[in-house]
């Protein structure tokens, strides 16, 4: 009889996938998860879900899970299963030995945005009290570090100004370099709902994405710009706002630094940013640029949502500043329905940014060079702290290749698959004497590891996540971790093994410590989150249950600051050898490096990365739908199958990066953001040629 199993228990938790952070009910029967259903009271999702959070949870019980700590002397050796205690002692012993031989700064750590706030906090604590240096970085280095930099510089807070629901109060929605219906599907549905109710949708994206045109949701203006011209086009939009006097002078005079504004006006107002000049260079009709600018400025409530299409450029930070400038100039910040909002990729990237996993900053974006901030932590941790900023992750790899960096503790990251310039990362890891990886599965990176610590999935631990709207929500343990320890317990074990004694009975005690040391989190506690469901920071005595909309009265930095945003073209250029521009992104059914979703039935929709190419470019190369092609850049090459697609213009090709074997990061450029080192994943000059016989899948050239 087909009577469905009735779950005997239901536990509210937060989805582990994208930065929307949907509330879910994990329903179990006999201790096994039988389904995940969206939580109606989840403030990010209001009972809605996507294919990943709703259905793709089987990864947690996949046979590939690492089930025991393992060590080996050389990466050529087979793994040897050991106890937790032996693994901790071995790992810490190696790190200490390396530090004695090569110096204190020869080791470091990197935290994961798939881990909880408490675990990320403990990773930076590991570096600072265990390694006694500031060599700690987080994976937003390669996604939204320009957001933190660019929004801090203009507005004073590197985070979304709004809550997601705010989009229902928007009259105009500007989406830049993001495809919410694929990357942030539940927010994408909310965006479409707003458009169906009459909001005007404007999109800046090289591709004709589903966001641009789907049933009952069509952009009124779509600027399909040439990849790499973001700053040029955003400056041109600003040019229209300035020269047509569409800005909100009263707002700027009241809220922003007027001298900065005048300086900015003189820059973007220059004729070199006129749509008539910019249009041809960016591949756009000048009137479309004007139309978009006028519509945005007209509001009355215009909001900006943007993604990695803005940040992953050599001028990523500048692009973010352009958006901050534009919102301030038009008075589109500080109330519901307006604002500037990054759409963050991973469930806890915002937490990754907030919780001090930076080589130069403690929690709450406070500098390690500041003695007063150091004193807060020295007092809490009873230890002297290093005031010298540490190495960023790419600098750790550079130093490893150079021979001065020898040990790395990686929490839930796969830099070999996901960081830029794969061969460089591999060379760096190969040069290290102790690579410690804490992960759910063996990955491309664990091939270079000496210690493998079995991580716990977010269904196996307690803690909190901070989503893209600054909302801190509860992650609850549904099932026991496969190897017995939650990730936070593993890091505590590592800290203790390094010789710093530490004990927490529950991650709530870690959040209490964060609250004691971090002003924006000072009112935060598990008790509060349990009581009100979720809390958006800042949460303090002035806002005891959190803050929905930022910048309502002043900016955290006082007056808003207009940053100069001169366009500097990327050095990555097309030429006769590499005439096409490759840009990259995500698809709905797969998630980032795919470690989780590739281990679910989501492969039914998408079982390999494919290259989208325009009909013109395909015809010129004699290519047909489904052909295997070689994609070669100045950095490396790989093979993919093609889809002839109307979504990309001639001259542009596009692929996703969800499958390890396609090694898209062997092809992408090693240029990066001038301010934050965020890689330029969105612009690589390539050539595409037909592959006639199946050969070696991927080759890395130097």
């Amino acid at each position: 009889m087909p009577i469905p199993v009735k779950p005997d228990q239901s536990t509210i938790t937060t989805c582990a996938y994208c930065g929307v952070g949907c509330g879910f009910k994990a329903e179990t029967s006999g201790g096994q998860i039988v389904r995940m259903t969206p939580w109606k009271e989840g403030k990010a999702n209001h009972g809605h879900s996507c294919v990943k959070g709703r259905f793709a949870f089987d990864y947690y019980r996949h046979p590939d899970r690492v089930r025991s700590p393992m060590i080996r002397v050389s990466i050529e050796d087979p793994w040897r299963e050991v106890s937790w205690d032996e693994a901790f002692a071995h790992a810490a012993g190696e790190l200490k030995r390396i530090q004695e031989t090569y110096g204190s700064g020869s080791v470091g750590a990197v935290s994961s945005s798939r881990c909880t706030n408490e675990e990320i906090y403990l990773m930076q604590k590991f570096a600072r009290v265990g390694l006694r240096n500031n060599n700690i970085d987080n994976c937003s280095r390669i996604c939204h570090s320009p957001t933190q930099f660019g929004l801090s510089a203009t507005l004073g807070a590197g985070a979304a100004s709004q809550h997601f629901d705010s989009i229902l109060r928007s009259d105009v929605i500007l989406v830049v370099g993001a495809n919410p219906t694929e990357g942030h599907p539940v927010f994408g549905s909310m965006m479409k709902r707003s458009v169906r109710r009459g909001a005007n949708l404007l999109v800046i994206d090289p591709r004709r994405t589903e966001t641009v045109d789907s049933p009952h949701c069509r952009a009124s203006v779509h600027l399909a710009l040439r990849p790499g011209t973001n700053v040029l086009v955003l400056d041109s939009i600003a040019h229209v706002v300035v020269t047509e006097r569409l800005y909100d002078e009263a707002f700027v005079r009241a809220r922003c630094d007027w001298d900065d504004f005048e300086l900015w006006m003189s820059q973007v107002g220059d004729a070199r940013y006129s749509p008539d000049v910019v249009g041809p260079e960016a591949g756009l009709e000048p009137d479309d640029i004007r139309e978009l600018a006028r519509r945005y400025a007209a509001g009355p409530n215009s909001t900006i949502y943007y993604g990695l299409g803005v940040t992953e450029h050599s001028q990523g930070s500048t692009g973010v500043m352009c958006l901050g400038n534009l919102a301030m100039a038009c008075g589109m910040i500080g109330r519901e329905g307006v604002g500037v909002n990054p759409l963050r990729g991973q469930g806890n990237v915002q937490g990754g940014s907030c919780l001090g996993s930076w080589p130069h900053m403690f929690t709450g974006y406070r500098f390690v060079t500041d003695a007063a901030t150091r004193a807060v932590f020295e007092n809490e941790w009873k230890i002297d702290l290093d005031g010298e900023p540490g190495l960023r992750l790419p600098n750790m790899f550079d130093a490893a290749v150079a021979g001065s960096f020898k040990g790395l503790y990686i929490q839930g990251e796969d830099p070999v698959q996901s960081d830029p310039n794969r061969h460089h990362v591999e060379a760096a890891l190969r040069n290290m004497e102790c690579v410690i990886v804490q992960d759910l599965y063996e990955t491309e990176t664990t091939k270079f590891a000496h210690v493998l610590l079995p991580g716990s999935s977010s269904l196996e631990k307690n803690g909190t996540f901070t989503n893209a709207e600054r909302r801190v929500s509860m992650v609850r343990k549904i099932v026991e971790p496969v190897a017995g320890l939650e990730d936070w317990e593993i890091t505590v074990g590592m800290i203790n093994a390094m010789g710093y004694e530490l004990k927490y009975d529950h991650p709530s005690e870690v959040l209490d410590e964060i609250a004691r040391t971090s002003p924006a989190y000072s009112g935060m506690s598990f008790e509060l989150i349990e009581r009100v469901g979720s809390v958006q920071w800042p949460c303090n005595t002035a806002a005891p249950e959190g803050t929905e909309v930022l910048h309502t009265v002043t900016f955290p930095r006082g007056k808003g600051s207009f940053m100069l945003t001169e366009y500097v073209p990327t050095k990555e250029r097309v030429d006769d050898r590499f005439p096409l521009l490759l840009t990259t992104g995500r698809i709905l059914s797969q998630y980032n490096a795919g470690t989780q979703t590739r281990r679910t039935a989501n492969n039914a929709w998408y079982d390999d990365d494919v290259l989208d190419i325009s009909a013109d470019d395909a015809a010129q190369r004699g290519l047909r739908n489904g052909d295997r092609v070689r994609v070669a850049s100045r950095y490396g090459e790989t093979e993919l199958s093609i889809t002839v697609s109307g979504r990309v213009h001639p001259g542009v090709v596009y692929t996703t990066f969800h499958f390890a074997h396609t090694m898209v990061n062997a092809v992408t450029s090693d240029l990066n953001d001038w301010a934050t080192n965020c890689p330029e994943y969105k612009v690589t000059a390539v050539e595409v040629t037909k592959v006639t016989k199946v050969g070696k899948v991927t080759k890395v050239t130097s």
Binding site: P4, H48, R54
Partner: protein, 247 residues
């Protein structure tokens, strides 16, 4: 604007979306209740603590009025309006139970049962089961005249989606899935094809769910009151259609 999202409560279905609006006071079964203007009588009845059975109504979807189970009587009005599509008025007096209402609801439910697999009722825990309990009918008598009518028990069983099934035998064509796909997800992948008794839920251009524009968000599964759309993970031994029907 926020109530429709933020006044939703886990485990409670108010029947129609909560509204923001001026307070309106009415009485339901003699109980005074105040709700926002624009709310439905169904929602007001729920707030008043009166249980009105329903199938096609959900507080995450706009009212539709197709299942005809949530009928009520309103003082001074003729007939038996569906409470989900009837907005509240100041001073309105609503009755949710009467012999006539019970008879009408039973009649409607018997029609649904006449086209629902009999073996899928005992032990079930869907909203349909709850509604059957509320109306007090669980199966047709062996000699019930509806047993000789036409049915859809040999209809489509779509197992193409890796995560959920669509079993037409259990579909009551309430359109909740279609409306969820439109109103909540915004994909418009589902539709009702055909007319009258021939109406069926179809994906895309009458394709399988997997081949259609469906993005597998699960909103339709969440909305389905009769387990016609249901997670495969709830059937550890695999999904099998019940072979018995009321016919």
């Amino acid at each position: 604007m926020w109530s429709e999202l933020r006044a939703l409560r886990d485990g409670i279905d108010l029947g129609t979306p909560p509204r923001d609006g001026e307070p309106v006071t009415l009485s339901v079964d003699g109980i005074p209740v105040t709700v926002a203007a624009g709310s439905s009588v169904l929602l007001a009845a729920g707030i008043a603590g009166c249980t009105v059975p329903k199938l096609c109504a959900s507080d995450t979807l706009e009212a539709f009025g197709s299942c005809r189970v949530c009928l009520v009587e309103i003082e001074g009005r003729r007939g038996y309006p569906a409470s989900c599509t009837t907005p509240v008025d100041e001073g309105m007096q609503v009755r949710t139970t009467s012999d006539m209402l019970a008879k009408l609801r039973r009649g409607v439910i018997e029609l649904y049962l006449s086209d629902f697999p009999e073996g899928d009722i005992d032990g079930g825990w869907s909203q349909l089961n709850t509604t059957l309990d509320q109306v007090g009918v669980h199966r047709l008598a062996d000699d019930h005249p509806y047993r000789s009518g036409a049915n859809h028990q040999g209809g489509v069983l779509d197992m193409s989606n890796p995560y959920f099934v669509f079993d037409q035998a259990k579909c009551i064509v309430c359109s909740r899935c279609v409306r969820a796909c439109e109103e909540i997800q915004g994909t418009f992948a589902l539709t009702i094809d055909g007319r009258g008794f021939g109406s069926t839920v179809v994906a895309g251009q009458n394709e399988s769910f997997l081949e259609s524009d469906c993005v597998s968000c699960g909103a339709c599964v969440q909305a389905c009151p009769s387990d016609a759309l249901i997670e495969k993970s709830l059937f550890p031994g695999g999904y099998e259609r019940a072979d018995s029907s009321q016919a």
